[in-house]
Symmetry: C2
Subunit: 202 residues, 2 copies
DNA sequence: TGTACATCAGTGAACGCGCGTTCACTGATGTAC
DNA sequence: TGTACATCAGTGAACGCGCGTTCACTGATGTAC
């Protein structure tokens, strides 16, 4: 059936994010999907193709999960979504996480279709965040969202690179704090006393 | 002579940043250094070792170049250094650029010594930037520097991922603008009318 | 100063291995009658 | 309802290739005398 194809893409999206694109072989990827490697070409023309589709899938997964966190539409929903993104859980679980962090530098060197797929996924994240910045015109919100996402992606990347656990935690914490401050200003939300106290400990 | 070793490391640092660590073979790397691949093991024990040393070298290069830009000690030196980092030139020239952007996701999955070397290099960047944030206590400056670097690294990464040139430019521009605003606040520098006008066009 | 020798950086062929890709085959499923 | 056949997703062996690594060899350099 054609749902096997979906299973392969999902397995591939996890394997690639966990081990890297180059380092993940088709045999490995197919066995993660519960198949043998020979059948791969019944579903895809090449490794490049499954890479493109699985990066697109991962990016849309992330965008969907973000959208649903934001759909509550509460003033603090954006901050909660950002806190999840910049959490120790996300840092320690690359297989299910942001493809831009897990594969950023590999995508950078990828072919056009791969980078195109990544661009589309990135724009969905940008729009989702910009839509929450209600105290400013849409064009300005979009610009702010670009910077906020850059900070999130850079912080999570470096939190994974760094070997010192305290430093890693600190990178995530400072980025959360910073985005919280801007978010509060830009959405008009007031940070709760508890949240403000928690963050100012650090 | 032992300066051949240095030449190999420099060639490796460029090749790895340009093509990726996994995708660069030892033969390629040695011929970039003007040698044949057989001699590699006269200088290094393994590919892992040259990877570690060349990432360390690239990170220290970047830190040195940043330090020297900042040594002018002018109030706008930090902003100029950030503008260089977030420039189209840096985006289009990964071979000589920031190793955290060129190799971030590969380093993330690297072995301990590699990530250790990256951590040391990253901390040099953090300290160089924090030292310019003169309107706040050192501990607070360091925290700010972590966030600023995260934004820089994330923005440059996404500027390279994205296929739309306008979007790519916009990511860099918005990050520059954002960091400029914070930088001005934190260093006590006043942005020049020209610079403010230039940036507000966008 | 000139000759004999040791050293060792650099060469290039060879190795085993895992990769992406191909292909002849299998065997479950669905349709024709 | 039962039988014959076509389809095609999935199997597993095989391919050529480039990788990291090894190694016997070369030939320039430096020292001993």
């Amino acid at each position: 059936v054609a749902q096997t194809r979906r299973r392969i893409i999902e397995a591939a999206a996890s394997e690639f994010r966990g081990k890297g694109i180059d380092a993940t072989g088709l045999a490995e990827l197919m066995s993660a999907a519960g198949l043998t490697h020979g059948g791969f070409y019944k579903h895809f023309d090449s490794k490049d193709q499954v890479v493109e589709e699985s990066v697109a899938h991962a990016a849309h997964s992330l965008a969907n999960s973000l959208q649903s966190k934001l759909s509550s539409s509460s003033a603090r929903a954006l901050q909660a979504a950002i806190d999840d993104y910049l959490s120790a859980e996300h840092r320690d679980n690359a297989r299910d996480g942001c493809p831009f962090v897990a594969l950023g530098s590999e995508i950078t060197r990828g072919n056009k279709p791969l980078r195109e797929a990544a661009t589309v996924g990135f724009l969905r994240l940008v729009d989702a965040i910009a839509a929450q910045l209600k105290n400013m015109p849409p064009a300005a919100a979009r610009k702010k969202a670009l910077v906020m996402l850059s900070t999130m992606i850079g912080a999570l990347t470096m939190a994974r690179v760094v070997t010192d656990p305290d430093l890693s935690d600190s990178i995530l914490r400072q980025a959360r704090k910073d985005l919280s401050r801007r978010g509060a200003r830009l959405t008009g939300a007031t940070r709760s006393g508890q949240s403000a106290r928690r963050e100012s400990r650090t």
